[in-house]
Amino acid sequence: MDRALARRLDARFEGVLHGPAKQRHDQTEVRIGAGDVQQVLTALHDEPELNFTMLADLAGVDTGTEMQVVYHLWSSSTSDWLRVIVEGLSRDDPRIPSVTYLWPGAEWMERETYDMFGITFEGNRDLRRIYMPPDYTSFPLRKDFYLPDDAARSPGAGVRHVERTHSPVDAAPGVLRRTGA
Amino acid sequence: MTAIARTWDNLTLPGRALLIILPLLALLSIGLVVVLALFGQNILDILIFNLPIVRFVFAATVLLLLAPPIAFVIIYMEMKVIALMNLRIGPDRVGPWGSLLSTVHGLKVLMKEDFTPSRADPVVFTWAPVVVFATMPLSALVIPFAPGLFAQDFNLGLLYFFAMGGLTVVGLLMGGWASFNKYSLIGGLRSAAQIVSYEIPLTLSVVGLIILAGTMSLNSIVQQQGIYIDANGVTHGSGWFTDWFAFRQPLGFLIFAIAATAEANRTPFDLTEADSEIVAGFATEYSGMRFGFFFFAEYIGVFIISALTTVLFLGGWNAPFPVPHISWIVDPGSLGIGLLFVVALVPLLATLLFAAPFYLFRSKTRWWVALIIGFVLFNVVAAGLIGLWAYVNFDWVAGLFWFLGKTFTLVFTFVWMRGTLPRVRIDQLMGFAWKWLLPASLLNLFVTALAVLAVDWLRRGAA
């Protein structure tokens, strides 16, 4: 329950935050835009009074109208968790700078967010899918994700050997591919 | 015809096997009897003329026939002993205390599909298990199991043994390379590196022993660890276990034991088949009887290395204490007609004698159960007495008993190590062999040689 943190952040990042820092239970929340990510997070990480050296989580959120990326940070200088919400990412082509220069461990978390939402992290050296197969064509955790369409578009549709055993002789056979990465 | 087809359908698998095998066996035995009757004397003459070859063939056959049972026993021991160390039960169902499980495993392995991977080199792939398995009986030819019970007794027996042991590397490399599988390749190369590196401390550590014994013949090395009379008629040895070379060459024994563990691909040096890293090493692509061959070869290798350690350092077939010479001559003929009474009455009386306590003091036992228990006990006691008589009268029985006891104690130690120790890494293994064992074995050799020279010089100086 650190009310002072919210005031400190309001003071330090005046003009950058999209509104006052909110505090509830044991979490303080600030909202910024995609362009300020590098400035704010580097300041939070490097400045000794703030000292948010631990990135606890990097999440993507699809609010239905826009995309957001949410960082949770922890610092030994305060008893609260800090939540940094980067809002305003468009749903068609969400782009945000990557934080892998600060925390190399964020690479896989950004990969997961890309895989699930389609948010492109600029500066991430390895932005490819992590859970879904590499040729998957949509982003599962988006609110406009509909499963049946994707299964039909999937390259695995109807090519299984077992299903072809009793098919008509003149049907075009599928080529049994070895699975890629 | 349908009656035969129906009979055939109604038979179980063992029944069908017997129905085919028994007539064939009968025919074969009739044929054999005829051949022997007609040409028996000629055959005997040829055999006597070529006695060494006959001896070799006979010994190799016996070794090959004995290899699977020994392997089965060691495999069962490994499963059961490690299970008991792990606080589990292990094999329990097949046979008394699960002892037939490894036999059943062997039969199962015969029934598995035997395939060759599509890109593997078929000739090399097929011959790799054969090479690995063949080295085992070849190296076991020189091991003396008991006084007089050995296949061959060269002057260079020990050297021959190490040469044959090195042949295993060829087989493992063949298996690893021909499998067309990176895991097998890594396993095969690791095993080649390991066996080749540990050959050197293995052989060097026994050179000190060879200096002391004066010969490389395994038979005479064993003899020198007991009471023996040398060429000049001088009696050496006290019959106690302190005669064994383990006490005269302690460092050599230690180095040999460690290098033997590495040679046999046993934990902690079992990274050739480290199944948590490279699946099954060189044997990854093998299945069925070929894998069975690799598997057998490993366990027979354990037995043979233990046998060699026993022969070299632990006294071979010598008893650890001087067994007093008892003479126990049983002459059944002297009883005359009494023999008939003995044979008729003793089993009956002994059965009743052993059954009586169970029937009289335990109310739950029914009389026929008590009689069965009595009969079994009588058999056990009779077998024990016959064994004791054989031990006293035949030196090869006594020798075999001690030899097998010591060898299986060492096998138990190998199994014990497997259950307890983790695995070393390949670079730690190689570093250990080249940086520690090799200088230690050289040190052992030099110290032994210096000691022999010094004792000799002192003796000549005193005389």
Partner: protein, 421 residues
């Protein structure tokens, strides 16, 4: 006779096979590529990122080895493509997703209460912690106060689960290094604890025990008697296993100096839990950001500074002892009272966001819950420590030998259920 093989389908007449393929013998309708037996784990499409391009170009004398999803030693279904130079690992590329179940999406389509059973199989060895974080997040959204007795029961069962998880870690670590015995002894230990928890929760592994606002069942007689029995020989099997390993020269030489992480790198890689504490940073969520009733319980945070596999192993074993202390204190201080807060059946939290983190056996396990006022969660993001630690393997491994791959992965203790969500 007994079985008849089905007749083979007829070959299509006059059908020519395309270039580089041939027909399968078992089913002529299936075309196989000519080199189907020759498998290199190189993806069949051009590299999508610069890291992929860098990884999949072979240097001089290097080869790829695919430790596929089926392997005796990967901790679940994990595929690791190794770039080897002989036995030395040059680079690795872990491929995940074999166990991806879409838990976060499933949670969005179900009720708040159903989250608990969905989220159980994530880190299936330490299920209670997987339930604890989302439940705490939802309780923050609902502004609900959990009764003290329920909190104590949560801590008690959680610490038992932690001991069971560390027992599994001990066994698995030793097994990956070649020792067959400690895992079986650990499973004796684990079996007793898991039977205890089955008496309490009804299940041996995926407990489904915590509820939003409390727990699902009070301590019962069977649980208490089993617990009392077990406390008398508490971690005997674990100590036997440790006795077999801690002073074993082979084990120590294999594990020490292996996969060294320094504290700065560990923080940069977002590592938490025992892996972080073994590098010297005494960060434990139970003390750094206390939740539940941990402020009232006394325990230490074992920390080591070497940062190698042996340190990680020793830190976890020390934590077991601390867990025993916590269990003792819980049993002493257990208050009476209700075990569930009064909540409506259909939960409609206020629209808002909440984050909760607990200290699981593997690290900090976090849940970020967003509610939009309806009765279905809007978003639940699970932060899983195994996911992060598996990423660190890629940084720790190059330069080590193949045998160390398994040792380092085992010492970081990943569970693929959590990695793949």
């Amino acid at each position: 006779m007994a079985t008849q093989t089905p007749p083979r389908p007829a070959k299509p007449a006059g059908a020519a096979t395309p270039e580089g393929t041939h027909r399968s013998e078992d089913d002529p309708n299936v075309l196989l590529q000519d080199d189907y037996a020759f498998y290199e784990p190189i993806p069949p499409y051009p590299p999508r990122t610069e890291r992929e391009a860098e990884f999949y170009t072979l240097g001089d004398g290097e080869m790829f080895l695919n430790m596929g999803p089926q392997h005796p030693s990967t901790h679940g279904v994990l595929r690791v493509v190794l770039k080897l130079d002989g036995e030395r690992v040059v680079d690795i590329d872990p491929v995940l997703g074999y166990l991806h179940r879409g838990v976060e999406k499933l949670v969005e389509n179900a009720d708040y209460h159903q989250t608990i059973s969905q989220v159980d199989p994530l880190e299936y060895i330490s299920s209670l912690f997987c339930e604890w974080a989302p439940v705490t997040a939802y309780e923050k959204l609902l502004d609900v106060e959990v009764p003290r007795r329920a909190e104590y029961i949560r801590v008690l069962s959680g610490e038992l689960n932690r001991i069971a998880s560390h027992a599994l870690f001990l066994g698995w670590f030793a097994l990956d290094l070649g020792g067959l015995t400690p895992i079986l002894w650990s499973f004796i230990e684990r079996d007793e604890i898991v039977e205890m928890l089955a008496a309490l929760t009804g299940q041996r592994m995926l407990f489904n025990y915590f509820r939003i606002g409390g727990v699902n069942g009070d301590l019962n007689h069977e649980f208490m008697s089993r617990l009392g029995d077990w406390m008398s020989r508490a971690v005997g099997q674990l100590e036997a296993g440790m006795g077999l390993l801690n002073e074993n020269e082979i084990f120590v030489r294999r594990a020490s100096g292996l996969g060294i992480v320094d504290s700065e790198t560990a923080l940069r890689f977002c590592m938490t839990g025992a892996n972080l504490r073994a590098t010297g940073v005494p960060f434990d969520v139970r003390r750094a950001h206390p939740y539940s009733i941990y402020p009232e319980i006394e325990f230490d945070i074992p920390t080591r500074t070497e940062g190698d596999s042996l340190a990680r192993y020793l830190v976890r074993m020390e934590e077991v002892k601390q867990s025993l202390r916590i269990i003792d204190q819980c049993l002493e201080q257990m208050p009476d009272g209700p075990i569930m807060a009064k909540l409506p059946r259909l939960l409609r939290p206020r629209p808002g966001r909440a984050w909760a983190a607990v200290e699981g056996p593997r690290g900090m396990y976090g849940a970020y819950a967003i509610s939009d006022g309806t009765d279905q969660p809007f978003r639940l993001k699970i932060h899983d420590p195994s996911f992060i630690h598996l990423q660190a393997v890629g940084a720790l491994l190059p330069g080590n030998l193949l045998a160390d791959t398994m040792a380092i992965m085992a010492s970081l203790d990943p569970i693929m259920g959590g990695v793949d969500k």
